[in-house]
């Protein structure tokens, strides 16, 4: 019960943060830009155009859109949640709640759920927005373009954000706000670089470089989730054509997805454990 009360208050607290609204505003601006670009691109279609290629082009652009959404969502998740533990511990706000008849794990889980709800809304709005926009703009010209596996892709983007959230919580139970933010985004940076190393290595058939990329994904599997999301949303034809900026030469395996889920659960469990043991 206490968990849900805390989740409700946390969701409202998160919904009030300026960072969230800036991320939403950035998302809307991006959608407008994306829509305008797509609109003019589709207007240039002539009866003699190769519709198949056009459809692939629209899908490729859609992937770029998803990439921007993914990046915005990840950064927003970290920035909105980064001070929820450390900030409230420093200000003493948490004392009024932690002395109520609610276990520490319930308190932390409630906060986590509040942010998960916020992330869910954001991902649905952004992924849904860009998909709907693309479909509506393309339906008359080339027949509506949709991602290959939309739900799988959206689910993986969501999972990536929840993973980042859980790691932010784990660090927030120990570290000061700024240190936490730098560390978590730094880890995501490692995953990002690792992802590109892995892609390049796969194209060049360099096993050792590939392993470096995989190790980076094991350190932080966030980017692997994004690359799997692209793999799910891009049509196999597009991948084969190498038409997209997100060639998935090395597709993160199902094992890596499972690893990411375990990583998320471990981060959350360790966050609960650290938070339960520490002095407030």
């Amino acid at each position: 019960m206490g968990t849900w009360i805390i989740a409700g208050v946390t969701f409202r607290e998160a919904a009030r943060k300026r960072v969230l609204w800036m991320a939403l505003a950035a998302g809307l601006a991006f959608l407008a830009l994306f829509g305008t670009g797509l609109y003019f691109q589709l207007r240039d279609i002539t009866p003699r155009s190769n519709l198949f290629l056009y459809r692939q082009g629209v899908t490729a652009l859609l992937m770029v859109g998803f990439y921007a959404v993914d990046m915005l969502a990840v950064v927003m998740t970290v920035l909105v949640s980064v001070d929820t533990l450390s900030g409230e511990m420093a200000s003493g706000t948490i004392q009024a709640v932690a002395t109520k008849p609610i276990a520490r794990w319930e308190l932390l889980l409630g906060k986590w759920l509040g942010f998960v709800a916020m992330v869910t809304v954001y991902v649905i709005l952004m992924v849904g927005g860009i998909t709907a926009l693309t479909y509506v703009l393309s339906v008359h010209r080339v027949g509506g373009v949709m991602p290959h596996h939309l739900l799988r892709g959206a689910g993986l983007i969501w999972l990536e954000c929840v993973l980042m959230l859980s790691v932010t919580f784990r660090m927030g139970a120990s570290l000061a706000t700024l240190t936490n933010g730098v560390l978590v985004l730094g880890l995501h940076g490692v995953a990002f670089i690792g992802g590109w190393i892995e892609q390049a290595a796969a194209l060049l058939h360099s096993t050792r470089a590939l392993n470096v990329g995989i190790v980076a994904s094991l350190i932080m599997p966030s980017e692997a989730l994004w690359r799997r999301a692209v793999f799910e949303m891009q049509s196999p034809v597009l991948s084969a054509l190498g038409f997209s900026p997100f060639s998935v030469a090395s597709v993160p395996s199902r094992f890596m997805m499972l690893y990411a889920c375990l990583y998320l659960l471990a981060a959350l469990t360790l966050a609960i454990r650290r938070f339960s043991q520490r002095d407030l």
Partner: protein, 308 residues
């Protein structure tokens, strides 16, 4: 169910160490049910850390603490306690009414109970007219008031008040005093940590003086007989015999002109002393017992170095 016949608070050699710094050296304390207990000590004496350990906010490094008959910090114990932190803060976008509602729900109150209790407690702390105002528009004093309301919202058996009057004007202080009084009448135990000694003197039954995280002494404020009383007598014709005889009955005997000052361990010894002086031929004009104030007690027990 919590054991009802136990002490409200019982600690044995409670200790808290942060790295190499000893915050609480060994706190041994007993607070009975229904007492208003003052916790006094200089800055850095370990008062807030002690309260944190009793509330389960901080884990003791050693020793043990029982609150309402159970190990400190258990969820079942927290159901029966209230706490006003030294600087009460909460999400500032909530209104006063919403704040009490959130805290009430955390105590497991039903919507019906909340409908009845929230306005009643807003009224109790004098914030009825500000119930729909957001906390960000509250003054420091108003925040202390709403903090006090959330601390007693669940009719707790034990209430911890950490500097409840800091930031309050005289009217606010009077309110705190009244609330403590009503809580005592209700049978609740109040653990009061305050710098305002005059306030502690008025409200508390018993006080503990702590320094470096150890109880130096506890004093009962209602049984003045137990405390050392300073007496000033104005008399003439005081003989050598009277003065020396007095020295065996009282301490710190000092004669300054017509004024004879001394201290007795028990106020009940005073009539006998007066009879003795009169018997020695002295003319007694005035007898003025001066119970040492809490401030004097504080300085006498804790010292003037402020624990530094």
């Amino acid at each position: 169910m919590l054991p009802a016949n136990s002490n409200a608070i019982e600690t044995r050699a409670l200790r808290k160490v942060y790295g190499r710094k000893v915050a609480v050296r060994g706190l041994t304390l007993e607070v009975g049910r229904g007492e208003v207990f003052g916790f006094l000590g200089p800055n850095g004496a370990g008062k807030t850390t002690s309260i944190k350990m009793l509330l389960g906010l901080a884990a003791p490094s050693d020793g043990c603490a029982q609150v309402l008959g159970r190990p400190a910090g258990q969820v079942a114990v927290r159901r029966k306690i209230g706490f006003l932190p030294e600087h009460f803060r909460f999400y500032d976008w909530l209104t006063a009414r919403e704040l009490l509602s959130v805290h009430g729900r955390l105590y497991g109150m039903s919507p019906a109970a909340l409908c009845q209790r929230v306005p009643a407690f807003l009224d109790l702390v004098g914030l009825s007219e500000h119930g729909d105002k957001r906390l960000r528009d509250f003054s420091k004093g108003m925040m202390q008031r709403i903090g006090l309301a959330q601390a007693i919202l669940n009719d707790p058996e034990l209430i911890f008040l950490d500097e409840p009057t800091s930031g309050l004007d005289p009217v606010g202080r009077l309110l705190v005093r009244d609330i403590i009084k009503t809580q005592r009448e209700r049978g609740a135990t109040v653990f009061l940590n305050s710098h305002f000694l005059s306030e502690v003197e008025i409200t508390c039954d018993r006080v503990a003086f702590i320094k470096h995280g150890e109880v130096l002494e506890t004093r009962d404020l209602h049984h003045a007989g137990q405390a050392v009383t300073h007496v000033s007598i104005r008399a003439r014709k005081l003989s050598e015999q009277a003065i020396s005889g007095l020295s065996s009955r009282a301490s710190a005997v000092r004669l300054e002109g017509e004024r004879l000052n001394f201290a007795v361990a028990n106020i009940d010894a005073l009539p006998e002393i007066v009879r003795f002086l009169v018997g020695c031929g002295a003319d007694v004009y005035e007898v003025a017992p001066q119970r040492s104030s809490l401030e004097e007690m504080f300085l006498e027990i804790v010292g003037t170095d402020g624990g530094l």
